[in-house]
């Protein structure tokens, strides 16, 4: 079981940090670097029930549009309006102020199957 605020990562470059029963979701610096300048962020609204493996929303950059996938099931309890208003925030601080949504979950076990920080960084170094 991941400890509080210990990040877990997917191969599709989302990060998940659990704090009690609430999981914060974002995308990695590797992802923002690959996407280049992010110009648009649209997440599903608070109150939406999401299922692990489904899209939480979309992030669009100068280059391309990408779905953001959830590794956990639960209810979106908060959406980061700051990144919708200023998508470049995601480029500037993807692990901090650029978080995307918070999800209240009953079951944290899907996070155990994700990559830990060292493994992710080794596979996807930021150049």
């Amino acid at each position: 079981m991941p400890s509080v605020n210990e990040r877990r990562f997917t191969e599709s470059h989302e990060w998940f940090a659990a704090d009690g029963g609430v999981v914060t979701v974002g995308i990695t610096p590797y992802a923002t670097n690959e996407l280049t300048d992010i110009t648009y962020v649209e997440m599903k609204p608070a109150g939406t029930q999401v299922v692990a493996g489904e899209a939480l929303g979309e992030v669009e950059s100068v280059k391309t549009a990408s779905d953001i996938f959830s590794a956990v099931s639960g209810e979106i309890v908060e959406v980061n309006d700051a990144v919708s208003a200023d998508p470049a925030l995601l480029n500037r601080d993807p692990l901090g102020a650029g978080w995307l949504v918070r999800i209240r979950v009953d079951d944290l076990s899907p996070l155990e199957g994700l990559l830990d920080q060292d493994t992710y960084d080794e596979r996807h170094p930021v150049d």
Partner: protein, 376 residues
């Protein structure tokens, strides 16, 4: 996000490759060349070119030299513009058409002398053009030399470029648009033209990179760039694309292809029907028919009611019916709005027409607007 693809092998390097790497560029495969997409931020680089100055490595573009008695007549036969009748030191933008009037490529042809011409073509079409020229050369007497990999080409673009150049050379600063000069500086051959692909003023420079003198000179030049500070900054292909799109310049593979003729693409200015000299060019019959009938579809500008970008291939609708397709789109860094170019049926091409673009999961409203989106 989806996992990124594995890197591709054996990409060509321009003479400035190490410079890009040293500058921390994100490199991408562009038509078989390892090219800088950006050096940090595409939007910042775009704004830099609109407000100050940017430097682009465009050495990947093809540079073909035509030398000999029939070089001029040959170019008049394959290009939509009058070539021989230019004056020395003049360059023209034109299209190399196929028999159906479709675009094999769009090119810039420079007249160096009565029997000497330079053609700059797209990197992705260089091999195809060389094949085409060999196939239609017939008995024409000239030599075609591909100098792409023995020269470098650099574009300097932005409002501060010409004032900066004026401090060093009045001759270059006084060049008119689409005019160029050639210099031979201690064995280093340099061609400077007042041309570009950004909608800003500026120059494009072609230098020989063969031999020690040329390589040393290039190194000195790049070192000099460190001293320019914020006036001129390296700019990648990402900003090059958004800059040309705001200025509504066609990009091969998007607005023009083998299946799209230059008249439908709004490039009538690049087609001379007929040429004064009487020379006829490949594709002229087809273009004359298209001009007589009027193109069925027209390239238009769209302003979208969203901050999302329309992408190539997305469907354009009018009143629920498909009426066209997007060729290029982006969130315009200068205007702050979502802009796109699209081919639409003539009936829906008038400025002010309300259309819709299918962005995949949602359809958004769009208004036909005049091109270009941006003028300096």
């Amino acid at each position: 996000m989806t996992p990124s693809p594995a890197p591709t092998a054996a990409l060509k390097h321009t003479p400035l490759h190490q410079f890009h790497v040293d500058q921390g560029a994100k490199m991408v495969d562009f038509a078989g060349w390892d090219m800088p997409l950006h050096y940090g931020s595409i939007i910042d680089e775009h704004t830099q070119v609109r407000t100050r100055g940017g430097l682009f490595d465009v050495s990947h573009m093809g540079r073909l030299m035509f030398t000999g008695r029939d070089a001029g007549p040959f170019l008049d036969r394959v290009c939509t513009r009058a070539i021989q009748s230019m004056t020395d030191g003049q360059a023209r933008y034109g299209i190399i058409c196929n028999e159906q009037g479709g675009c094999r490529d769009d090119v810039l042809v420079y007249r160096l002398g009565e029997t000497e011409y330079l053609m700059v073509c797209n990197a992705s079409n260089r091999a195809k053009l060389l094949e085409h020229f060999a196939a239609v050369k017939g008995d024409d007497v000239f030599r075609l030399e591909d100098t792409t990999e023995s020269t470098a080409m650099i574009a300097a673009q932005g409002p501060e470029i010409m004032p900066l150049i004026a401090r060093h050379s009045t001759e270059i600063a006084e060049l008119k648009r689409y005019r160029f000069i050639r210099k031979n500086i201690m064995g280093l051959k340099v061609l400077v033209s007042r041309t570009g692909y950004t909608g800003e003023d500026g120059v494009e420079v072609i230098v020989s990179t063969d031999g020690f003198v040329a390589r040393t000179a290039l190194k000195m030049f790049l070192k000099e760039l460190d001293d320019l500070g914020d006036t001129v900054r390296p700019t990648g292909l990402g900003a090059r694309d958004s800059l040309r799109l705001e200025s509504a310049m066609a990009l091969y593979g998007h607005e023009i292809t083998e299946d799209i003729d230059p008249l439908s693409a709004g490039l009538g200015f690049a087609v001379t029907l007929p040429k004064k000299s009487g020379d006829r060019f490949i594709g002229q019959d087809a273009l004359e028919r298209i001009q007589a009938d009027g193109p069925a579809r027209t390239l238009v500008g769209l302003s979208l009611d969203t901050r999302r970008a329309a992408r190539q291939g997305m469907t354009v609708r009018a009143g629920g019916n498909d009426t066209g397709v997007v060729t290029s789109g982006c969130l315009s860094p200068t205007l702050g709005t979502s802009i796109a170019m699209a081919y639409v049926d003539r009936a829906h091409a008038a400025e002010g027409t309300t259309l819709a673009v299918d962005l995949g999961r949602q359809e958004v409203g769009a208004t036909v607007v005049g091109l270009p989106f941006y003028t300096r």
